[in-house]
Amino acid sequence: MRAVEPWVVAPMESFLAESQARLCLLMTTAGQVIAQHGFVRAVDVMGVAALGAGIVASTGELARTLKWQAFSTVVHQGPQQAHLLASFDTPRGRWVGLVVFGPDTSLGLVQLFFEQLVQDLAAAAPEAPAPQPVLAANFEHELNASLRTLFGS
């Protein structure tokens, strides 16, 4: 498990142990990866993060267009694998969680422990740092540092 924000590690490890999920990705609604478990290649996690954030954005727009309440969770179930995609509020803004799980657990358990993860993250979040410009001068350096943290390369 690798995380850009160290305080995310304990809640996510607890979630992974309880839910028996295979893969887990936490990201911002813009697709910036906060933590990941189970992904091997950077290109996979970046693609999945972008697609996940895109799905959350498009289902949010769909709900808005139909004047429904925004969807908080989307689940796709296949014969061997399923994934849960959920957006939630944290003290650091709105985040998205993507969880891939197999037949060794269940949707109910993953949802149950994901709710716990959201609560644990809210409790563990440190005071928010002072806001910084979105495109800081050292943006590329920060991006590379995040990738090194997430993939150790």
């Binding site: 269940s106 949707l107 949802q111």
Partner: protein, 117 residues
């Protein structure tokens, strides 16, 4: 299977004194299909954990060469949990006080399963 059939079946169980709630749960997903809960019980949590428990007990019983469990009776310090499978797909779960007449609850659960079969 109609929704009113679910209601009728769950009502049979919840009328037993000491029963705090009954629900039909998708056995594979651990998700609530229908519920009749008496108080502030969190149905989704009970459903997920009861389905997981039933699935593990089933594997244990099959591993011991005892076939598929027909009924699960768990007595905890704060109450009782009863579960019975309906085919391979559904699970009837009942949460009750520790003092519940478990025999009567079990009987009504089997009657409910007959309605749902």
């Amino acid at each position: 299977m109609s929704a009113s059939k679910f209601d009728t079946a769950l009502e049979l169980v919840t009328h037993v004194p000491g029963v705090r709630g009954a629900m039909l749960v998708s056995a594979a997903d651990g998700v609530v299909v229908a519920e009749a809960l008496m108080d502030e019980m969190k149905g989704s949590a009970v459903a997920a954990l009861a389905a997981s428990l039933a699935s593990r007990l089933r594997r244990a019983a099959e591993g011991a060469g005892r076939g598929v469990p027909r009924f699960v009776h768990l007595t905890a310090t704060g109450g009782t949990l009863l579960a019975a499978p309906l085919g391979d797909d559904l699970l009837l779960v009942t949460v009750a006080e520790r003092t519940v007449n478990a025999g009567l609850a079990r009987l009504e659960m089997f009657r409910a399963l007959e309605i749902l079969a």
